[in-house]
């Protein structure tokens, strides 16, 4: 488990987190390569099924990065995203997967440092949680 490098999917809103990632790049601020960014037109566009499918297909962690409260380009997409993330967390708990694998974060387009900081924090958290339990389940079955 020592060499475990998590795969993390980050759904990033075009108007904030995606631009913040860009900003991090322009400022030469490094962030972990574990984070795979998917640009979305608004964090509110991220549906429950997108997060579920990411996990089902092997992501070790998923986060949705939206605008700061009150700053959503589409008024309240970020608040809707937060509710969906909570819904996924509850569902994961029901099926015995750590809800901490999914998270909602907020930032503005100018927060390049914050983007990198969040990427480090979440990568670190998922690294401690270990690999997605689906993989262990399937590997154990294969070995048996």
């Amino acid at each position: 488990m020592k060499d475990f490098e998590p795969v993390i999917v980050a759904f990033c809103c075009h108007y904030c987190a995606y631009t913040a990632a860009d900003m991090a790049g322009s400022k030469r601020i490094a962030y972990p390569a574990n984070v795979k960014i998917i640009r979305v037109p608004c964090s509110g566009k991220v549906d429950t099924i997108h997060i579920m499918k990411a996990l089902e297909n092997g992501a070790d962690g998923v986060y949705v990065a939206g605008c700061l409260e009150g700053d959503c380009h589409f008024k309240n997409g970020n608040l809707r995203a937060l509710q969906r993330v909570k819904q996924v967390q509850a569902l994961l708990e029901e099926i015995g997967i750590e809800p901490e694998r999914v998270e909602m974060v907020a930032m503005s387009a100018g927060m390049g440092e914050r983007f990198a900081e969040v990427a480090f924090e979440i990568t670190d958290k998922i690294r401690k949680l270990g690999p997605n339990p689906l993989k262990a389940g399937m590997e154990n079955a294969k070995a048996a």
């Binding site: 579920m52 089902e56 029901e94 099926i95």
Partner: protein, 221 residues
């Protein structure tokens, strides 16, 4: 609309545990509107089930299908091409849909993924409340368009009772006293004199008390 909620995952997981090939069937009608068993919820449940079993090292063969209406035989007939590829059916329709699938495909076990709750209306996005109990003898014309059968905790026809305080029912501060609502509405309509008319005992034989009900429309049969 008929409202429903997903059953706890544990119960659903246990119901499909003996099977490998699951036909997960949603319904495009009421349960889609109340976000319990439409195409979207079918996808989410399918993914959640897959993940639950993958942790145990098992992958399910889940086929997702959402019918236009699961309570009508002509739509349930659409399953005929895929039913043989499944060991069991998991239905995300209301109880009517589950039963229609079970009636049509007699050799296939059918399990409900939802708990069907009530006939209701949307109060706002994501909030549904009970509005009708299907008593079979509508009295809404006498009560200002607000139903005491479905919405009074005691189904009083001549309310309110002593448990009505500041417009709320004694069972919960979140429940309006329906007789307060009826009175307010009657006043707004200028028909408060009707409130004085005592309603006689209701004949409940038109409701469930008369046994399971059926409608036969000779002009349509």
């Amino acid at each position: 609309m008929i409202t429903a909620e997903r059953k706890p995952m544990e119960e659903i997981i246990e119901s499909v545990r003996p099977y490998n090939r699951i036909l997960l069937v949603g319904c495009n009608e009421c349960v889609t509107v109340c976000a319990a068993g439409g195409r979207k919820e079918v996808g989410i449940l399918s993914s959640a089930l897959q993940m639950a079993f993958m942790q145990e090292g098992k992958t399910l063969d889940i086929k997702e299908l959402t019918l236009e209406r699961q309570c009508d035989p002509e739509y349930v007939e659409e399953l005929v091409t895929v039913i043989d590829q499944a060991d069991a059916v998991l239905s995300m329709a209301c109880g009517c849909g589950v039963q229609e699938v079970a009636r049509r495909y007699k050799d296939k076990p059918v399990y409900p993924a939802l708990n069907t709750l009530f006939m209701g209306a949307a109060e706002r996005q994501g909030v549904w409340a009970e509005r009708c109990q299907g008593c079979g003898d509508c009295i809404l014309g006498l009560t200002g368009g607000i139903c005491p059968v479905a919405r009074c905790s005691k189904r009083l026809l001549n309310g309110p009772c002593g448990g009505s305080t500041a417009g709320k029912c004694e069972i919960s501060q979140d429940v309006d006293c329906v007789w307060q609502l009826i009175w307010d509405r009657m006043k707004a309509l200028g028909i408060e004199n009707r409130y004085e008319e005592v309603m006689t005992a209701k004949d409940w034989r038109t409701s469930r008390d008369g046994g399971p009900r059926k409608i036969i429309r000779e002009d349509l049969v």
